[in-house]
């Protein structure tokens, strides 16, 4: 029902794009932090707004959210969600503290590097020109972060196409979740370029 907008084949293809993108993003993070990264197989799902927020986890959990707008042939929003404790661990690996401006900016930079790698991989595969705008970092409740990003999208449509990837730092029990939310026109562009357009 919820996936009626996209066929299974299209979602498979988008998942594969997400796989390559998040693999590249994981490698970038791995070399930044100097540790191995495990990647879960990404999911591509077209979800109704409320379902997408529910799928993200407990809305009351405090998280760090880094938003990076992507523009060009495809407009999208990338959202990196890092649970509180994990953000502390990651910042410590970089010698920073999440309570300081340096820590906040380090998390923004991690978002920037990961989205840059992810989007760079997408651009190489598709031949699109894609640009990043500066990251915005916020520390708030998971529900507030995810719903606000999705609501900004649903102004144009009911379904959010969520390309979701989870990365785990080896040796440190840390999970980052990475979402790419292309606009409907952006999804159409992507599908068209890989020969699966309508």
């Amino acid at each position: 029902m919820a996936n009626a907008r996209y066929t299974d084949l299209q979602l498979d293809a988008l998942r594969e794009l997400a796989n390559i993108g998040s693999g590249t993003a994981g490698t970038a993070l791995s070399s930044l932090l100097g540790c191995a990264i495990d990647l879960a197989v990404p999911s591509a799902s077209a979800l109704e707004l409320a379902d997408a927020v529910e799928a993200a986890g407990d809305p009351a959990d405090l998280v760090w959210g880094v938003v990076v707008p992507v523009s060009g042939h495809v407009d999208a929003t990338a959202l990196l969600v890092i649970p509180d404790a994990d953000a502390t661990t990651i910042c410590a690996m970089l010698g920073a503290d999440t309570d300081t401006e340096t820590g906040r900016s380090a998390l923004g930079e991690i978002g920037n590097i990961m989205v840059g790698a992810y989007v760079g991989a997408l651009a190489t595969m598709t031949g699109f020109e894609l640009d990043l705008r500066p990251p915005q970092t916020t520390h708030d409740m998971l529900g507030a972060v995810v719903s606000s990003v999705l609501a900004a999208h649903s102004d144009e449509q009911e379904l959010a196409l969520v390309l979701d990837s989870e990365l785990e730092l080896e040796g440190e029990a840390c999970t980052l979740s990475f979402m790419l939310l292309p606009t409907p026109a952006g999804v159409a562009e992507l599908l068209h370029r890989i020969g699966l357009g309508d």
Binding site: E48, L49, A50, A60, L62, G65, A144, S147, A152, E158
Partner: protein, 151 residues
């Protein structure tokens, strides 16, 4: 998200957790025990079908008033409390849905003749709102902060 609830049962606490740009609209009857809470996501439907009763502000306000009817509350006897409508990110243009949500909810309340007696809105912080049906008390908690009474 997009849901609403009305109750007159003293044991009930109505909650919206993690409001960002969304609005938690509480309607509390001045006399009697009926309370309602709606989790409003967007200002207007713009011709789209409403799959959830409180998704759009313009529909959520009448829907919440209607839900309070069986509990003996009428629009003329209700106070409104607004929570949420924050701007979590300032990136793209037209993204300040929070402010548009608040304006749309206030306009719809104005049409229904319901006064807004308290609010915790705007800014860039996520919030959780609780409506205690037993007392008609409404509390708000900002992310990482303590619970504060609004009514």
């Amino acid at each position: 998200m997009g849901e609403l609830a009305a109750s007159a049962s003293a044991g009930d606490v109505l909650v919206c957790v993690g409001l960002g740009s969304c609005i938690g609209l509480a309607l509390v009857s001045r006399r009697g025990s009926a309370c309602g809470l709606a989790h409003i996501v967007l200002p207007d439907a713009a011709g789209r079908p409403a799959d959830r009763p409180a998704k759009f502000a313009e529909q959520a306000v009448p829907a919440l008033i209607a839900a309070l009817g069986p509990h003996g509350a009428r629009a003329g006897g209700l106070d409104a409390i607004l929570v949420g409508g924050a701007q979590m990110f300032t990136t793209s243009t037209g993204m300040d849905i929070g402010a548009r949500n608040e304006a749309a909810v206030r306009a719809a309340l104005g049409l229904a003749g319901i006064p807004v007696t308290a609010s915790a809105t705007a800014g860039s912080v996520g919030r959780t709102v609780r409506v205690h049906v037993a007392t008609g008390n409404v509390t708000v908690r900002d992310a990482g902060a303590k619970e504060v009474g609004l009514r």
